[in-house]
Symmetry: C2
Subunit: 275 residues, 2 copies
């Protein structure tokens, strides 16, 4: 998938919504627990109900791994379902991987080849050779953690390194890496003060922005600070959509919630047509 493909979908659907498939068996409707694979049954219903309102789906691997082999099977079924039924959606494995070079190669193989995701989130702490193996696949992307949405972001990411914040150092350094045009960046919606500065360093990159809704981020501020002529944003919502209802109407309720966000997004897209 190319960046242009993603932008085209955004303008077509008037949405830059990414739906996070973070499935919590304690929160899904009770009747689904009788299904052979409750996680996949839930995902399938959510995907079918919301696909026309979003451009990306993002399963977080932690919620699958918590269930061991069964969880990994649900993850595999989910990405296969997406690739077969909704091939125009951008898929993100939110896995936050990263290791020495020969090991990151295996993670890249796992998420791009074996599972078939378009992208994977990657942690920067181990530097160039831990990230570059993710950048060698045509049409695939690594989404690098820059400034995350949680409180712990202030422990290291905002600390000053050589007179600039670590997250800016990470961004600047990563732009020198091989195939850095295949990098996108995670920037939390709760960090609007820094979003403008990040955008000025990354005028052409897509930003994956988690943290609206349950975590308190503000869509208007995100758009004001970081939207480009080609949009350049994938804004994620998980819990607000997935658990809009815990009853039999959960898929409809999820659709309603996704639609609320999509309609807000359409407002911010007004007048834009892309370059």
């Amino acid at each position: 998938m190319t960046i242009k493909d993603i932008s085209a979908q955004i303008f077509k659907k008037q949405s830059f919504l990414c739906i996070g498939l973070d499935v919590d068996l304690d929160k899904i409707p009770k009747h689904l627990l009788q299904e052979e694979d409750p996680i996949f049954a839930f995902n399938q219903a959510i995907i079918d109900a919301t696909h026309d309102l979003c451009v990306a789906f993002k399963p977080n691997t932690a919620f699958y791994e918590a269930h061991g082999v069964k969880g990994w099977m649900a993850l595999e079924k989910t990405i296969t379902y997406l690739n077969e039924k909704y091939p125009n959606h951008f898929t993100i494995a939110d896995a936050k991987r990263g290791d020495i070079g020969n090991t990151s190669e295996r993670y890249a193989k796992a998420f791009f080849d074996t599972l078939g995701f378009h992208s994977v989130t990657v942690a920067p702490y181990m530097g160039a050779d831990s990230v570059e193996p993710f950048l060698t696949f045509d049409g695939k992307y690594a989404i690098l953690l820059a400034l995350t949405s949680n409180q712990g972001a202030f422990d290291f990411q905002t600390k000053s390194v050589d007179d600039e914040a670590l997250f800016l150092k990470v961004i600047k350094t990563s732009k020198q890496w091989k195939n850095s045009d295949r990098l996108m960046y995670v920037v939390g919606a709760t960090k609007t003060e820094q979003l403008g500065q990040i955008r000025s360093m990354l005028p052409d990159s897509f930003l994956l922005v988690p943290g609206i809704g349950a975590q308190g981020g503000d869509l208007e501020a995100v758009c004001r600070e970081a939207m480009t002529p080609n949009v350049g944003l994938l804004v994620n919502s998980s819990r607000d959509i997935l658990y809009a209802s815990s009853e039999g109407d959960f898929a409809k309720a999820a659709r309603r919630q996704a639609q609320v966000i999509q309609e807000q997004m359409a407002q911010f897209l007004m007048g834009k047509t892309g370059n």
Copy 2:
């Protein structure tokens, strides 16, 4: 498992060797590829051949995930085999995980509860709330990336933050986290210049030291700089042991290589009995 249990095993076996189970199907003996689960068959043979020479086993999750569901099944079988047959060995899921709090909780559940590892490696970039969920389990440990063995460690980890290197900032900050006595740290054997400084900041912590052998680290220097009265070291070797032979004698060859390292370790342990 307690720190004392690990130290007791080290003195009993005269070894602080950790064997990294990074199984590469291109490198294992060809006849194993006919097994129903070649990865597990290989691990079982390596574990049985080397268990008395090492105190820990460390599968790296990337090598399992690369094979999707089958790989995850092999990982589950491997840790179950270890826990049932060799319950005195310390087990490390080398997974380098870390996410926002509610998500790290899932990873902790995945590796400690669902799979049953004693410890998991964790990346520090996302700060306190991304690591603390791993520290709430009695007898379980998070092994925090401090200074890694790869070249990319120089991209960020050694950069100066508030007049000290980032890896030192990570260590200092992490000591303030809740249940920080359940932290161990990853320090590459290739970074002997910094090992002494790290040890002085962490007089009582176990360090997991990868990078001897294929990556060029030196066991003697590691022991000189970082061994404590209770040893405080788990030194990892993967490729040199696993792929000592690619023929039918691979398990015997792995044992011979593990024994070479164990005998070196016994020399460095001479005269020590622990506190």
